[in-house]
Amino acid sequence: MLTRQGIVRLLQDAGVDVVGESEDGEGLLADVGRTKPDVAIVDIRMPPTHTDEGLVAAQRIMTEHPDTGVLVLSHYVEPGYAMRLIEEHPERVGYLLKERVFDVAILVDALRRIVDGETVIDPTIVSRLLGRRRRDDPVESLTDREREVLGLVAEGMSNQGIADRLFVTERTVEAHISAIFHKLGLAESPDQHRRVLAVLTFLRT
C-alpha cells in the first residue's frame, strides 16, 4: 500500500530504523515478536474484514509484548476508538489520524513520546471533545490558557512537554493543572497515564 511505503520512506529519511513491515495482524505480531521494536505503527483497518483488526492487534501487542509501544493510525475521528485503546493499557500507546503523519516531525515526536512512556491522542479528537456541548459546562469556567493546558493533557503530554510547548516552567503547568482539576471536580492523579483517561472520560460525559 502506498501509505505504508510512504511512511517507511518518511521515517527512514528522518533517521528512524524501520525493522519490519507486515500486511496483516498475524504477520505484524510475528514481526514484533521477532524484532522487538520500540514502537509498532498499526493501521486500524487491516485484512481480513477491514473493520477493527488494527485495534485488536494493538491490544494483543500491548499484552504480549509490553516493552513495545503501539501507535494506531486511523481515518476515524472516533474518541470511542482512542479510549478503547488506552482503557486497558494507558502507557506507551497512541491514536493518530493518518494525515497527521504527513508532518514527519509530528510522527517522530509521537514515536519519541511513546518510547518515553507517554500517551498520544490526536489533537482533532481532543478538540472535538473540548468543543462538545454540555449542560452547565464546567469547561466554560476555564481560562483560555487553562483550556489550552487541558487540551494538551488530553493529548497525553507530560508536564515537561506542556511546559516546553507553552514556553513556561513546569511549576506553572502544575499550577494550571491543579486549578483545572479543581474546577472540573476531578481528583488529581499522581499517575500521568491515568489522568489522560480521566480527562477524556470527563470530556465525554
Binding site: 518518511l10 477491514h50 476515524y76 476508538y81 462538545r132
Partner: protein, 582 residues
C-alpha cells in the same frame, strides 16, 4: 355446494330411515302376534325393537351429522340384521322368510366390528383393519352360504331355532354344517377379542375432543365384543339346546352394548347443536369489531380443543395466513385430527384444523359465525397485505443501507487512501524542493498539501454522513456517543445496551436519534436527552428536548422504524420509539 343433489340424497336417506322404521314395526308386529318363537330376539320384542330403532335412528343421525353417510349406512345395515333373528325365530312364519333371515344373521359380527372399528369415518384406515374386516366378511359369507345350501333342519338332531324345511337346500351335509358352526364360534370369539382390544386402545389414546366423540362407540364396542366372546364360549360349552338363562343375559347385554354404540351419533348431534349455539352466542358478544383471532379463540374454547387453528385463504397471494395476517403452512390432516375447508360459492374461505375427527360444529357453523369468520378473513387479508408491504419496505431500506455501507467503505479504501497517498507524495516533493533551495516551489507544494488535507477532512465527513462505520463495527452505544460528541446542541445519552442488536435495528435507532437531535436543534432546543433500553425483545427509545412544539413527524425515522414493524410516537416535548428486535 350443489343443493339439488344434496336434497335428493336427503330424501333417499329419509326413505331408508322410514324403511327401517317399517321393518322394525313389522318385526314388532310379528313378535307380538300369535305363534311360537324360538329366538330371544323374538321373545323380547320390546328390547329387540328398541335396539333396532336405535340403530336406524343412529344411521339417519350419522348420515346428516358428522360421522357421515358411510357410518350411517353401516348403522342401517346393522339395524336390519338386528331384526333377522326375529324372522328366523318365527316358528309359524313362511320358510322363505326364515331362510332369508338366517342368511343375514352371520353378518352381524362383521358389520358391527366394521362400524365400531371405523367410527366415525366408516373407512378402514390401516391395512390390518382392512384385512380383519375382509376375513370377517368372507367367513360370514361362507357360513351363510353353507348353512343355506347344505343345512337340512330335518336331519339336524340339535336343531332348535329354525327347524322347518329349508327351501334353499341343495344337498344335506350335516358334517359341513357342523364344521361351519365350529368356525363361526372361533371367528366370533376372535372378532370379539379384537374388537375389545381396539376399543380399549382408542379409549386410552384418544384425548380431548376426539375422546368425547369416540367414547360411546368404544365403550359400547367393549360390551358388544365381550358378548361375542361370551356367546361363542357359551355355545361351545353350553347345553345342547341353547335356551338357557345364560343366553338370555348375553342377549340382553349385547342389546345394551348396541344401544350405547347407537347413542354416539345422537350425542354428537346434541353436542353439536349446543356448541353451535355457544359459538353463536360468543361471536354475538364479540360485537361488530372483534379482536383479531377472536373467532378461533371462541371455536377453540367451545369445542374444547386448544390446538384448533383457523387458516384463512388469501387468493391475491395464493397462500394461507392466520388471523394476524402471518403466512402459515397449508393445513394438513394429522393422525386422529381433521381439517375442514369452509367455502362460499365454491371459493375457499378458511380451513379449520382440529385435533378430533370432523366435528359438526366446525362444519356447520351458524350464519353469525360465518359472517364473523368472513370478516376476520378480510381483516387477515388486509393485515397480510400490510405485512407484505412492511417486509418490502424493510428490504428496500436494507438494500439502501447495504449500498451506503459499500459506498462508505469504497470512499475509505479508495478515495481517502488515494488522497492520503497523494499528500505523502506532495510532502516528499516539498522536502525535495526545500533541499534544492527552491523556496517558491516549496511554498506551492506546502499549499497543495494543506489543500489535500482539507479534502481528506471533507471526505471523512462525507463518509461518516453516508454511513457511520462505528455503527457496524462497535454498535449503537459507541455510535450514539460519537453522535453526541458532534451534536449541535447539548445531548445527554443514556444508553443501556449490553449486547449488539440486529444491524437494521441499530441503523434505524441511529437514524431516529440523529434526525430527532437535528429536529430538536431546528426547533431552537438547547438540550436533549436520549434514553435507549431493551424491554423484552423491543428496543425502546425516548428523546426529550426543550425546543418549540414538534412539527410533522420525521419522515426518515417513520420509514425506517415502520419498515421494521415499530412505531414512532410523537408526544408533547417528547418522542417515543419502539422497534421490535427479532
Amino acid at each position: 355446494m350443489a343443493t339439488e343433489s344434496v336434497r335428493r340424497a336427503n330424501v333417499l336417506w329419509i326413505a331408508a330411515g322410514a324403511a327401517g322404521l317399517a321393518c322394525a314395526l313389522a318385526s314388532l308386529a310379528v313378535a307380538l302376534g300369535p305363534g311360537e318363537f324360538t329366538t330371544f330376539a323374538a321373545r323380547t320384542p320390546a328390547l329387540a325393537t328398541l335396539v333396532g330403532l336405535g340403530l336406524f335412528g343412529a344411521g339417519v343421525a350419522s348420515a346428516f351429522g358428522s360421522p357421515g353417510r358411510r357410518t350411517g349406512g353401516l348403522f342401517l345395515i346393522a339395524g336390519a340384521i338386528w331384526f333377522a333373528p326375529v324372522w328366523v325365530g318365527w316358528s309359524d312364519g313362511p320358510p322363505v322368510i326364515r331362510a332369508l333371515g338366517a342368511l343375514a344373521v352371520p353378518f352381524l359380527v362383521p358389520v358391527v366390528v366394521h362400524l365400531v372399528s371405523t367410527y366415525p369415518g366408516g373407512r378402514a384406515r390401516t391395512a390390518a383393519t382392512r384385512a380383519i374386516l375382509g376375513l370377517l366378511y368372507a367367513t360370514a359369507a361362507l357360513s351363510a352360504a353353507a348353512h343355506a345350501l347344505f343345512r337340512d333342519p330335518l336331519r339336524d338332531t340339535n336343531c332348535w331355532d329354525n327347524c322347518t324345511t329349508n327351501p334353499l337346500l341343495v344337498h344335506p351335509s350335516p358334517a359341513l354344517v357342523q364344521a361351519m358352526d365350529v368356525m363361526d364360534r372361533w371367528v366370533a370369539a376372535g372378532a370379539g377379542i379384537v374388537l375389545v382390544a381396539l376399543c380399549v386402545r382408542r379409549l386410552r389414546t384418544a384425548t380431548g375432543p376426539g375422546r368425547r366423540a369416540v367414547w360411546p362407540v368404544a365403550a359400547g364396542g367393549v360390551v358388544v365384543g365381550s358378548m361375542f366372546v361370551a356367546h361363542s364360549v357359551a355355545l361351545a360349552n353350553g347345553p345342547e339346546r341353547p335356551v338357557e338363562p345364560v343366553f338370555r343375559w348375553i342377549y340382553v347385554a349385547l342389546a345394551v352394548g348396541m344401544i350405547i354404540v347407537s347413542a354416539a351419533p345422537v350425542l354428537a348431534w346434541v353436542r353439536t347443536r349446543t356448541q353451535q349455539r355457544a359459538v353463536g352466542r360468543i361471536v354475538a358478544e364479540l360485537g361488530e369489531a372483534p379482536d383479531v383471532g377472536s373467532v378461533q379463540a371462541a371455536l377453540s374454547r367451545v369445542v374444547g380443543d386448544p390446538a384448533l387453528t383457523i387458516a384463512y385463504w388469501v387468493p391475491s397471494s395464493s397462500r394461507f395466513v392466520d388471523a394476524q395476517g402471518q403466512a402459515v403452512a397449508e393445513p394438513r390432516e394429522r393422525p386422529g385430527g381433521s381439517v375442514t375447508a369452509l367455502a362460499r360459492d365454491g371459493r375457499t374461505l378458511a380451513v379449520i384444523s382440529h385435533a378430533a375427527p370432523t366435528d359438526d360444529v366446525v362444519r356447520e357453523l351458524g350464519a353469525a359465525v360465518r359472517l364473523a369468520l368472513e370478516n376476520e378473513r378480510l381483516q387477515a387479508e388486509a393485515l397480510s397485505r400490510a405485512e407484505d408491504i412492511r417486509a418490502s419496505r424493510a428490504r428496500i431500506v436494507e438494500t439502501g443501507d447495504a449500498e451506503r455501507r459499500r459506498l462508505e467503505r469504497d470512499l475509505h479504501d479508495g478515495a481517502q487512501q488515494g488522497v492520503l497517498a497523494l499528500s505523502y507524495r506532495l510532502r516528499l516533493a516539498w522536502a525535495a524542493a526545500k533541499a534544492d533551495g527552491d523556496d517558491r516551489g516549496a511554498a506551492l507544494l506546502a499549499d497543495a498539501t494543506d489543500q489535500a488535507i482539507g479534502v481528506l477532512a471533507e471526505l471523512r465527513g462525507l463518509a461518516h454522513g453516508i454511513f457511520p462505520a462505528i455503527l457496524t463495527e462497535a454498535g449503537l452505544g459507541p455510535a450514539l456517543a460519537t453522535l453526541v460528541d458532534s451534536a449541535p446542541i447539548v445531548v445527554e445519552a443514556n444508553v443501556a445496551l449490553d449486547d449488539r442488536l440486529p444491524a437494521p435495528v441499530e441503523t434505524a435507532a441511529y437514524v431516529v436519534v440523529s434526525e430527532a437531535v437535528d429536529d430538536a436543534a431546528s426547533r431552537g432546543a438547547t438540550h436533549a436527552e436520549v434514553a435507549a433500553e431493551l424491554a423484552g425483545d423491543r428496543l425502546l427509545i425516548r428523546i426529550d428536548d426543550d425546543g418549540a412544539p414538534r412539527g410533522p413527524a420525521m419522515p426518515r425515522s417513520a420509514d425506517r422504524v415502520g419498515a421494521l414493524g415499530g412505531v414512532v410516537r410523537p408526544e408533547p416535548g417528547m418522542l417515543r420509539v419502539e422497534i421490535p428486535c427479532e
